[in-house]
């Protein structure tokens, strides 16, 4: 009695498992195919365009890529690009966006969750509205601010200004959603934990640091991942606000595939760039997935 599908014997469960795995495989096959083609091409002597292409393993593409020799067929007049610099730039933008988003969203999400102030729920709704605006739509306005502020920046510092501006502008697109996500996490931390700290002699800030933040770690991890990837993947803001010689991996790959350059670009090298571009995403997920799944609810009942 009571043996439904969900709680069935090992046989039923086994069959269901196979069906589920097959369904998942089918759904993710296009994605898996594309990515594996990309990764394989970066290690092959030719473009891997189908599973039946015979290819030889080589690191030549990676060497060319890291030396910045994107168009080996273009001849001797060709100047190699400073790839390491591009990687560093990507890291600066992504890391900066992460820091700005975390600093702004952790503090404001805590305030939204715990404090009562004028227009609190109205502002929460406004945040969702803000998130709905695509970054591209805002770019004219953001550009106007960029130009306006640029008048006050000494020429020598304009490169720093560009980076800081890109980081803050890109971060501010991520902050509304980050606040929403984190508020949800803060809401689940019971008031009593903070009260306990305050009764025990801590200030509100101590309570936030010692009692609340450790419990919203998974939320902070999630927000950090999203912010990092937003910075890492950003194309349009970097393209518009960084000077043309300061590329990131995204704008660099774009420039190789963009109009005019496709003729001279050797695509396996671009595949190497694409593969490198993927790595942080993968690392970040692997490192933080334990944190993301971690639930710390012990010691709290009711």
């Amino acid at each position: 009695m009571g043996e439904g599908i969900g709680e069935g014997g090992p046989l039923v469960r086994g069959t269901m498992g196979i069906v589920i795995i097959l369904a998942l495989l089918l759904a993710s096959l296009p994605i898996i195919m594309t990515y594996s083609t990309l990764v394989m091409t970066s290690f092959a002597n030719t473009i891997v365009s189908s599973p039946w292409v015979k290819f030889r393993f080589t690191l030549e593409n990676w060497r060319l890529f890291l030396e910045g020799k994107l168009a080996p067929t273009a001849g001797i007049v060709y100047t190699p690009e400073d790839i390491l610099r591009f990687i560093l730039n990507t890291g600066i933008v992504a890391g900066g966006v992460t820091l700005v988003v975390l600093a702004a969203s952790v503090t404001s999400a805590y305030a939204f969750s715990r404090m009562n102030f004028f227009m609190r729920s109205g502002m929460m709704k406004l945040l969702i509205l803000l998130h709905a605006f695509p970054g591209v739509a805002l770019i004219v306005g953001v550009y106007a601010i960029y130009v306006f502020l640029n008048n006050y920046i000494p020429r020598d510092y304009s490169i720093y200004y560009s980076f800081i501006f890109v980081i803050i502008a890109r971060a501010s697109l991520e902050i509304p959603m980050a606040i929403w996500i984190l508020k949800g996490f803060f809401d689940r931390v019971p008031w009593e934990l903070e009260w306990a700290t305050i009764v025990d002699g801590g200030s509100r800030l101590t309570a936030l640091r010692t009692a609340v933040l450790p419990l919203v770690k998974p939320g902070i991890a999630a927000v950090a991942i999203f912010a990092f990837l937003a910075g890492w993947e950003d194309l349009i803001y970097v393209l518009v606000f960084l000077p043309p010689q300061e590329k990131t991996l995204a704008t660099y790959i774009e420039s190789q595939l963009g109009s005019g350059s496709l003729e001279t670009t050797y695509l396996p090298v671009v595949a190497a760039a694409g593969t490198l571009y993927l790595i942080p995403t993968i690392i970040f997920f692997v490192v933080t997935q334990r944190l993301l799944l971690e639930t710390m609810s012990g010691g709290l009942k009711g």
Binding site: P190, E192, L193, W195, A196, T197, I198, V199, D200, G201, G202, T206, T210, A211, P214, L215, M296, S297, G298, G299, L300, K301, G302
Partner: protein, 374 residues
Amino acid sequence: MVEVRLEGVTKRFGRVTAVNSVNLVFGDGEFTALLGPSGSGKSTILYLVAGIYKPSEGRIYFGDRDVTDLMPNERNIGLVFQNYALYPHMTVYDNIAFPLKLRRTPPEVIRDKVLEVAKFLHISELLDRYPAQLSGGQQQRVALARALVKEPEVLLLDEPLSNLDALLRIKIRSELKRIQKELGVTAIYVTHDQSEALAMADKVVVINRGVIQQEAPPDTIYNEPRNVFVASFIGSPPSNIFPATMDYTEEPCINLPGGTRHCVEEEYAGVLWRMKPSKVIVGFRPEHAEIVENPVDGRPVIVGEVYTVEPLGRENIVTVASEDIHLKVITPPEVRPEAGELVYVAVERGKLMLFDPQTEINLKYIAREWSQGG
């Protein structure tokens, strides 16, 4: 230790008045239970004493010290929350040590104190574990240890047993009382469970809708409820309460449901003669009545029909319908009438309670106030 005094304390949350001009004294070293249904304001009073809430009006004193405007950490209190509020990411040891760390106590002293309180509460072997690895009862002890390690003057407990299973609750409740007496700490205990309040407290304060209904030792609360609310809230099953008309032809007599009459005892007669209400509210406890075959001996008797019988092993709860009133009576296991049977419910002499229909106050208390006021 210290006495806690509330003088005219009111707490409003927006338009809602959670606590309405309460005057209360929690005696030095006494165990006081704040008893009331959920939303009655009992926890609010506790958090006012803790300093987590600020009163909208009134003052709070610890002995001679006015603590109304002091922060919780300046009041020297220990607080045990309903959900224990242990820090999930700290070990038991760190949880207990935390209040001392915040006070910048030297590490050796912290160690000694934590070990001492852990030994006192029999949790020494749990110090390396995390709260999630503990049972409910163990978590409860850790929470208590964290409150006691500061050596507080006032121990505040917010329904600390409500998350435990029934057996453990009875075990811990006697232990908690022993600990409180041993330390001599002033304890305030919030609960909605009357048996906890009656079993543990030196004094029980019954609260409803932010107003104190009665403030007395457990015996008095049980035997002489001050008003209809207390009578109907205390007891399991609660008191039978029903309205009845009065008849003053010779002496004050109550027309009981089912057509019988009962002329009141002397302690009520005087006040009834003076007030001459045309109606009263009558109450009696299910355990103070029995089911009899012949109404004799001058006990108050109500005629009715058996509605249901609930056998509980040690006793039965018999519900008797008389007119449109349902009365519950606790009977010995062998008394098990059939549903539909016509029976007499006889109430023990002197156990009938009468309340003023307007104010719902026990007429006994009105009589007492008159004799005191002259």
